[in-house]
Amino acid sequence: MSASSPGRASSRPDSGLPRWVWLPAMLGALLLLLPLLAMTARVDWASFPALVTSDSARTALALSLRTSALSTLACLVLGVPLAVVLARGQFRGRSLLRSLVMVPLVLPPVVGGIALLAAFGRRGLLGETLEVAGIQVAFTTTAVVLAQTFVALPFLVISLEGALVTAGTRYEVAAAGLGARPSTVLRRVTLPLTWPALASGTLLAFARALGEFGATITFAGSLQGVTRTLPLEIYLQREVDPDAAVALSLVLVAVAIAVIALTRRTRSAL
């Protein structure tokens, strides 16, 4: 650890890159960037400010930010323990659980919405129980948060769990040998050591929640101010005013880039 890593970024030891990798790498980057660029080129900049500050757009953005913040919090509260248990716990069925937990990551979000309805809808598995308890989930802001948490949680779990496995248990074992109880180890060793992954996982989860569309429209509906988040607003605007849709998409891209850049900043600060 210590003496082998030179202090300054400019002097990061490296073994060089083969020249040829640049070609496919730049092709790959182009494939990802060109569409964003082309979309930007399409924006009618004259009407842009008006489009993105319309009442419905502002309401949608505010709702999106609020719900994304809440679901990110939920992801942290549930996801950190889940990642820790998956990476460190020793129990039967751990690798099955690990696979299952990743499913929402690869599920088309609309299918996720169907599944959420099946679980939490009025006619769903827990529907009656919830109804008796006087809790209505579907088609409320709660449903938006639930849908976002459902799709975003695996992002946090996969980031953190991967980092936990890679980091290994050497430092934790050393701390345990010094008499640290498991909670102390978690708080003072595990989480600080995986802080970069935790930060980037959290912000990926936030960004994913911000962009969530399919599960939300299926499970939460599209009520202005209640469940109509920015991606839903974009989808609806597409019908009447595609220019507005593009403009709003750009706002979403900007927020996403800001969030990811922030992640990188945080990660490299450590």
């Binding site: 309805l117 579907a138 299926t218 509906g221 202005q224 609806l236 019908e239 009447v240 595609p242």
Partner: protein
């Protein structure tokens, strides 16, 4: 202003424009009422109401979808309030020189809705009435997707509702055709059975079917049912 009573109206995505206007009018008439408008594809709407979404008024884009709700007893008295017909849309400049329905059967990149969705069902009826056979390059999920492809110039022609064509403004050229009358889609409105404010819900439904409603809908391109 946030009223003390909330009314939830579910409307098909294609009805969003006029319904937003109607909601405003309704709220002016009923200052203590706030109307929440839920807009989604008709199929989504039906699924949501079936799943217990709070609902007072439901308006779908075609009768078939509304019938699914009626059959389950989730709505009462669907009333037709507007009709929508198909038109041909082509990208600006009409690159494939489409003049009428017959041209769509030729070597044209045509997109239509899939037969499973209302506008696709209508397209199928037109096809039959006109005795032509379309060879679409894509059967889209919704009108929006058809419009998107044509607007982007990706497709050379599409079949959409006249109302959608109007809202797309001058990004498209619209071509009307005779056989459209063979496939009129009628949009019904109904009060939800589960409504806790049936009178108020009725009042909204009445506004939709009233002359005021008709005026707003006509401005958006709808016709009388």
């Amino acid at each position: 202003a946030e009223g003390s009573t909330t009314l939830t109206v579910h409307a098909a995505a294609s009805l969003r424009g006029p319904f937003e206007e109607l909601v405003e009018l309704f709220e002016e008439e009923h200052p203590d009422v706030t109307v929440r408008l839920n807009v989604a594809g008709s199929a989504d709407l039906v699924a949501q109401v079936e799943e217990g979404a709070p609902a007072d008024v439901v308006a779908t884009a075609d009768t078939a979808t509304m019938e699914r709700l009626a059959a389950d007893g989730l709505v009462t008295d669907p009333t037709p309030f507007a009709a929508n017909t198909l038109v041909i849309v082509v990208p600006r400049g009409n690159p494939a020189d489409v003049a009428g329905l017959r041209d769509l059967a030729g070597d044209v990149d045509l997109v239509v809705c899939a037969p499973q969705v209302p506008c696709g069902a209508a397209a199928a009826r037109v096809e039959e009435a006109a005795g032509v056979a379309f060879t679409p390059v894509s059967e889209e999920q919704s009108v929006t997707d058809v419009l998107g492809k044509v607007r982007a110039g990706e497709a050379e022609a599409g079949l959409v509702y006249v109302t959608d064509a109007l809202s797309a403004g001058d990004h498209l050229e619209v071509i009307e055709f005779e056989e459209a009358s063979e496939a009129v889609n009628v949009a019904p409105v109904a009060v939800a059975s589960g409504s806790e404010r049936p009178a108020l819900a009725r009042a909204f439904a009445d506004l939709v079917t009233s002359p005021t409603g008709e005026r707003v809908l006509t401005e958006a391109g709808f016709r009388r049912p």
